[in-house]
Symmetry: C2
Subunit: 323 residues, 2 copies
Amino acid sequence: MADRPKRVEFREEGPREGFQIEKTVYPLDQRVQLVEALAETGLRHIQVASFVSPKHVPQMADSEALFAAIRRKPGVHYAGLWLNEQGFARARATPGVDLAGKISLYASDAFARKNNGCSAEEMAQRQRRWLELYAEAGLTPDFAIVMAAFGCNYEGDIPAERVVKLARYARDICAGRGERLRQFFLADTMGWANPEQVRRLVGEVRNAIPEVRIGLHLHDTRGLGAANVLAALEMGVDLFDSSVAGLGGCPFAAHGDAGAAGNICTEDMVFMCHEMGIETGIDLEALVECARLAERIIGRRLNGHVMHAGTLAKYRAGRKEAA
Amino acid sequence: MADRPKRVEFREEGPREGFQIEKTVYPLDQRVQLVEALAETGLRHIQVASFVSPKHVPQMADSEALFAAIRRKPGVHYAGLWLNEQGFARARATPGVDLAGKISLYASDAFARKNNGCSAEEMAQRQRRWLELYAEAGLTPDFAIVMAAFGCNYEGDIPAERVVKLARYARDICAGRGERLRQFFLADTMGWANPEQVRRLVGEVRNAIPEVRIGLHLHDTRGLGAANVLAALEMGVDLFDSSVAGLGGCPFAAHGDAGAAGNICTEDMVFMCHEMGIETGIDLEALVECARLAERIIGRRLNGHVMHAGTLAKYRAGRKEAA
């Protein structure tokens, strides 16, 4: 509890994670509307779309057009995702993409092959080249992310040592260029994490790279998302990826059921933080409206809770009026 | 963490909580099938049905027939719920109901009037009479429960002192008869609890009645159910009410959306405990099958996560075969 942060930052992933897992390709104007509404809530980092093969992820074929259509709000970082050099080149060539030097690593070799078409080791080696490309683009290393850090549907349990080794590797390849890695994300890509594991892995990674801010990318696949966030908060973690309405899931993660694959839900986690007295800088009521907008766009009931039950504000306001 | 229990007990509420909130009255044989399947999972306490007004809760009009139809498994407690003397008389007259001396209290006066048709104070006073009735039936006080202990859709925030006072009251009216209250449940009837509040309220109640085992009855209305369980585990709480597939919700709690009203989900919380190395005595795979059975009966997607994503066992088994 002593370690619990006073303020937590959420990086919104819904527009990318949410729409890539759906079978439907949703109209551009609806996705633009969602991104623009999210930017009005106080969220400072929104992952808009990915620059990946349109053959494998046809939902993201129009990423350039999506970025072009967004009316930008000053102070908001509009991110894109890439998994290889071609993707980065596309992102770099797309006006409106806020580039950030990102290092991508895999704790599971089998998942690296499914998601990236190369071994985990090859992916790690490629990151040296990525750092060169980033430098050419005037970027410094912003963050690293280790996918399948908590377990893998293809490989099973993932030893913590493997993740710790990747953490040191990410830090060291930056240091080798005289640069400092700012953030290190542990991604529970397939929903294997439990609170005890979160606590232990965050602790071990922090011991290995104490100078790097730790972030978590969590999925609520097996219902432990909120508990995993709580465990992380108590370890002092103040940086989370999440998706409005609990949208999301990787199309290549072999989730049992796409509806169960979603990321932790931004507005539910913001609600938890606010109720616990932790600041987020986010207007919760506005964010709940974004979740309802996402539900109208997707056209089926989404996983978020607060969006359906409502926040506690109206009940508290009612009491004040009555008092 | 030092306080975390080695073993946790779940009291299954799905058959009662789950079916009372649905608009449909489901066929008796399907509800019997669910109760019988739950009894095979290792669950030792199953709340089968309530003995309340069939006018207000028509789904529970056939509680006697339900109890009569169940093939009992030795060692399992088949509980019924009552909210007044007539209800207890019905339960007592029904073969197959495992009676337990239960004290019912309200932290919210407004909710007492909605749910019980009397004030919270009147309800508290009635408990003295209930204890007499229990003694006549040969029962000792088994547990007390305080409804709306964490907040109320009618009254707003609930002061902790009010709950602590009710805890002392429950203990003292038992002690006044030379009896010992065994368990004290805090019920988050309307999904207001957050992990920090769970920690504080459990701590305050334990300080007030250290000799009584504390249980929690939680709802996942706003997505914090798993986090609230984790906070409670870390306070040493080892007793939870929960519902298979996350069924449930009180019909008089003014939930924004019935689908969001569900209890914490038994199999998701059993999964969390097992992943954290905490025993439950429950066969998780069998319980997941019960959740899927409940979903087939109800006929729409239910809130449980593990029931849709599957446990991690098959992935781990696959790795062992491959190794």
